[in-house]
């Protein structure tokens, strides 16, 4: 006899605060638990646990960028993975909505129900491009084949078909050119509350008992744009008792009762604040108008006060998730001043795309203070890495060095190991067998450490436009961010009062402007532009032109060289 729970398609989500925070917005640690009561991956049930503060992997078109499924498995910190749905709307019906099985979203994307928690939103939080206005009943989404209008019931039908573990309610966040009028913001607040009610309504599956009602695990975007009053108004709407009619439909006293967590997307706020400050419209910022450098202190202060306005009256025990921060500094500010629990890892993944190997730690290792401001990582496009055969990060050890050191090493002054597929690769104990003879030739059974990949190798891969470079960097950057969060949790739990001081030290040591990002992005585009047949010639041309400019000499042409050879 299967318990009724075993039929429940929705796993149980819970969040527990571990540290007792002195105030509503103090830094805090917590614990996310997701339990599936349905049989999963050959087990009767599965539980996924995640200590917070922690990272949420961002995806593009359903994949963690640059990582094939086996490399996702080599990245154990990829536990919570967020999937924007809009890219799948490019064909109708979306192929993903035809996937069968107990965990259709996991199955379609190739993630493991026993290891991965999947959340889903309609729109991509990192996509700041302009989109036609949303309507009373719909949100305009972007797909690679144009825009599509999605109404709340349609979104609900997709969600109940693909069954993510957590659903971010559809919200009315405008991506039309800012500024947005007060009237527009009021609409945004009203619509978002309405659509939240729609997604919170019980599932009413015939196979399940009607009481207590089964519903989705829902996170809600705390909307209200850059107006404190609108934010307070939205949070009031979440708490106010529902009208009798709605109450019957949703079966909740108020909306917040059904909400599992709160979400803040920074990208739309950044764009709006930027427009406000510079009095420029979204179009003139170019498309995609996605700021990629972290915001200054003033903007961060604004983020903090906007979040305070949203959360001031809300229960403290629900998790708070922020999308599209752009630096560890921004993350630290939001942990210190708002008590944020979860952050998407968009920026570290973006850094991997642009050739940066991250190299920073929290808390800052002792003895680093006196030096000049450190970069957050290495732009491996830079020629200074061409012959650099050291591991990717100075602040971490590689697996091989660590295992060679053995027990005797001085534990206290030894940096932690970066467990990523670039710094601590391991040889498989189970390579594929292709013929009956293979077994005798392929060593099996032991997992052996392999040498770490070097900066010189990644530099080479970047300049030859080899995709492997970004796979290595993505794995590495995830590991650095994961260690960053582990350090944060450790400091908060050991001595919450020291957190502020450690944040100060971090700011004193590491560059908060992340100028490295612009440099890397430029190199990325140079290589991208030069690639293809005749690349070396084009690079040469560029180089010669640069030198010639400096020396003021004419540039030799290809014909001259050709003549020299033919002659």
């Amino acid at each position: 006899m299967t318990s009724p729970n075993a039929l429940n398609p929705v796993p149980t989500f819970s969040f527990r605060l571990r540290s007792t925070s002195p105030s509503r917005f103090s830094p805090r640690t917590g614990h996310v638990t997701l339990t599936r009561s349905r049989p999963t991956d050959g087990h009767d049930s599965a539980t996924i646990e995640l200590p917070t503060p922690s990272l949420v992997c961002a995806t593009s078109r359903g994949v963690i960028q640059h990582l094939s499924q086996d490399n996702v498995q080599r990245t154990p910190c990829a536990k919570w993975i967020h999937v924007p749905f809009e890219s799948f709307l490019q064909i109708d019906p979306p192929s993903i909505s035809r996937q069968e099985g107990p965990n259709p979203l996991h199955s379609f994307l190739g993630f493991s129900p026993s290891r991965h928690l999947l959340s889903l939103s309609l729109r991509d939080p990192a996509d700041g491009r302009e989109v036609p206005a949303n309507g009373k009943e719909f949100v305009s989404t972007l797909t690679s084949r144009g825009t599509r209008k999605i109404a709340a019931p349609v979104f609900r039908s997709y969600v109940t078909t693909v069954l993510p573990d957590i659903t971010f309610a559809m919200s009315d966040i405008p991506f039309t050119p800012p500024p947005h009028s007060q009237k527009r913001t009021t609409k945004s607040v009203d619509r978002s509350a309405q659509w939240l009610a729609n997604i919170l309504a019980p599932l009413n599956l015939p196979s399940l008992p009607q009481t207590p009602p089964t519903r989705l695990n829902v996170f809600v975007h705390m909307v209200g744009g850059i107006r404190d009053a609108a934010r307070s108004a939205f949070s009031y709407m979440l708490r106010e008792p529902l009208e009798p009619k709605e109450r019957t439909l949703v079966q909740l006293k108020n909306l917040d009762e059904g909400v599992s967590g709160y979400v803040f997307d920074l990208q739309p706020l950044r764009i709006t604040l930027l427009a406000e400050e510079q009095k420029v419209s979204l179009q003139s910022l170019g498309s995609p108008a996605v700021p990629h450098r972290p915001s200054d202190d003033k903007v961060c202060d604004t983020f903090v006060s906007l979040m305070h306005a949203s959360l001031e009256e809300m229960p403290v025990e629900k998790p708070r998730l922020v999308n599209t921060t752009l630096s560890p500094h921004e993350m630290l500010i939001l942990i210190r001043d708002v008590g944020i629990d979860l952050f998407d890892s968009f920026w570290v993944q973006q850094a991997a795309t642009w050739g940066i190997a991250l190299d920073f730690r929290f808390p800052v290792p002792a003895g680093t203070e006196e030096e000049a401001k450190k970069h957050l990582g290495h732009n491996l496009y830079d020629d200074c890495y061409a012959i650099d055969i050291s591991r990717l990060a100075d602040s971490f050890l590689d697996g091989l060095t660590h295992s060679n050191r053995g027990e005797s090493a001085d534990q206290k002054n030894t940096p932690p190991v970066c467990p990523c597929g670039a710094c601590s690769p391991t040889w498989s104990n189970e390579p594929l067998i292709h013929s009956s003879l293979d077994e005798y030739t392929v060593p099996r059974g032991t997992v052996e450490p392999a040498s770490p990949y070097t900066r010189a190798y990644i530099h080479h891969l970047l300049h030859t436009h080899e995709m492997s470079a970004h796979a290595f960097l993505a794995m590495h950057n995830f590991a650095v961010l994961d260690a960053f969060f582990a350090g944060i949790r450790e400091v908060i739990e050991r001595d919450p009062d020291s957190f502020e001081n450690e944040v100060k030290r971090f700011f004193a040591v590491y560059d908060s402007t992340f100028e490295l990002l612009d440099e890397a992005k430029r190199s990325y585009h140079e290589v991208d532009k030069a690639r293809g047949k005749g690349r070396l010639a084009r690079e040469k041309e560029l180089q010669t032109a640069k030198v010639a400019e400096e020396l003021d000499v004419p540039v030799p042409t290809v014909e001259v060289v050709e003549e020299a050879i033919q002659g």
Binding site: S60, R61, G62, V63, S68, Q69, D70, N71, R74, F88, Q90, I91, S95, R98, Q99, E100, S107, F108, L109, G110, S144, A386, I387, I389, G421, P425, T426, W427, S428, P431, L432, I433, H434, S435, S436, L437, D438, T441, V442, A450, S451, Y453, A456, Y457, H459, H460, L461, H463, T464, E466, M467, S468, H470, K540, V558, V561, E562, A564, I565, Q566
Partner: protein, 393 residues
């Protein structure tokens, strides 16, 4: 075949890691896929990262983190295919350095020295490559020069004393069986100074009939106790015919390159996953395949959704195609060991040409070694086609 970095079972297919990486994959992933021998291109590695850095890193194996076997070509082929101004002299190949633009000479000695620095387990002689469509005296000149350069390569290889690296000769002679025979005779004379023989100058657009006859001719004359390597062969049908004719090794960029364009290889022929017909197809590429992509049940629809936009999807198809080639050759090894290769060929082509249309060059070539593909089959047709079995619509 046992070399400094372990054994590699023959016959085998070698994936190409042109610039010291199989596009998108890591060395750990390659080893996981059950691959024990890959190829690097000397021409590319010499330009980038350059020999200085490879020396610093302790050779190409260490540089790319690869602990199994590695083969490098001589760089000659790319000089001809990639450089517009290459001029071949008796001394070597003269070309404009893509970096400095200065005239640069690649001699047989220099090629061997570079390959020694790279440190591959199998290194190739510098040969005088002409397009397989070239006719006239140039073909004969190139053949003789390749023989003379082989001698210089052997001398250099001995001089520099790298016994753990294995030098292969390359049979040239274009599409002229007379010239091929002379080349074979000359090079086989030097068999004690080389570890294996490659068949070069083919797979460059010549008729399939000519192709298999040249392979057959070379395989016939090459010594039994040295591995034979067909350069630039990668289509399943070509591999199976070459093995039937006596070839042990082959390489080609085709399986990995075509993967990046969304073509997944199967025993029923390639699937072009960019086609609309796959947009709602929730089956994996091949449910019986052991590759990570098929094991995780990645659907054709999901590949359709992302091929061309997400690199990870290109990696997924690349992994599949590498395993397809490796498993094909593994099955070939098993069939040969069990003395069942003819039956394997029949069963493979029956699935591969399910429409019953068999290219006549395949039927003819296999007939030449006593395998009658059509034996006992009805409703088959022998057609004048190359047999690549593309998935068009």
């Amino acid at each position: 075949m046992v070399m400094a970095h372990g054994p590699t079972l023959l016959p085998t297919f070698m994936p190409v890691a042109t610039q010291a990486a199989i596009k998108g994959l890591t060395s750990q992933q390659m080893e996981d896929l059950g691959v024990t021998l890959i190829l690097n291109n000397t021409y590319h590695l010499n330009l980038r990262p350059g020999i200085k850095i490879l020396r610093e890193a302790g050779g190409a194996h260490k540089f790319q983190g690869w602990r199994k076997n590695l083969l490098t070509d001589s760089g000659g082929f790319q000089l001809v295919s990639l450089s517009k101004f290459t001029k071949i002299t008796e001394e070597g190949a003269l070309f404009a350095s893509p970096f400095t633009g200065e005239p640069t000479l690649l001699t047989p000695e220099e090629s061997i020295s570079i390959q020694h620095a790279i440190g591959a387990d199998i290194i190739m002689q510098l040969d005088d490559v002409v397009s397989s469509l070239t006719t006239g005296p140039r073909v004969e000149e190139a053949m003789w020069r390749s023989v003379r350069w082989l001698d210089r390569c052997i001398a250099q290889h001995k001089r520099e004393g790298r016994p753990e690296q294995n030098l292969f000769a390359i049979i040239q002679g274009g599409l002229d069986s007379g010239l091929r025979e002379i080349c074979l005779e000359e090079m086989v004379k030097r068999k004690d100074s080389v570890s294996g023989f490659a068949i070069g100058g083919l797979s460059g657009g010549e008729a399939k009939d000519t192709f298999w006859k040249m392979i057959a001719l070379c395989a016939e004359k090459l010594p039994d106790d040295k591995p034979r390597y067909s350069m630039g062969i990668g289509f399943a049908e070509d591999l199976l015919v070459c093995v039937a004719l006596g070839v042990d090794m082959a390489d080609c960029v085709f399986p990995t390159r075509t993967a990046r364009f969304g073509v997944a290889l199967t025993r029923q022929g390639p699937l072009n996953l960019r086609l609309n017909k796959y947009s709602q197809d929730l089956d994996p590429i091949d449910k019986d395949c052991a590759c990570p992509t098929c094991r995780s049940e990645t659907s054709r629809a999901f590949i359709y959704h992302n091929i061309g936009t997400e690199t990870a999807t290109a990696h997924a198809v690349t992994q599949h195609n590498i395993v397809f080639q490796a498993k094909l050759m593994g099955d070939v090894r098993d069939a040969i060991m069990k003395d069942e290769y003819p039956a394997f060929l029949k069963s493979f082509f029956k699935g591969y040409y399910a429409n019953g249309k068999y290219p006549h060059w395949i039927v003819d070539s296999l007939n030449s070694v006593g395998v009658d593909l059509l034996e006992g089959l009805q409703n088959t047709q022998v057609v004048d086609e190359d047999g690549q079995n593309w998935d068009y619509a």
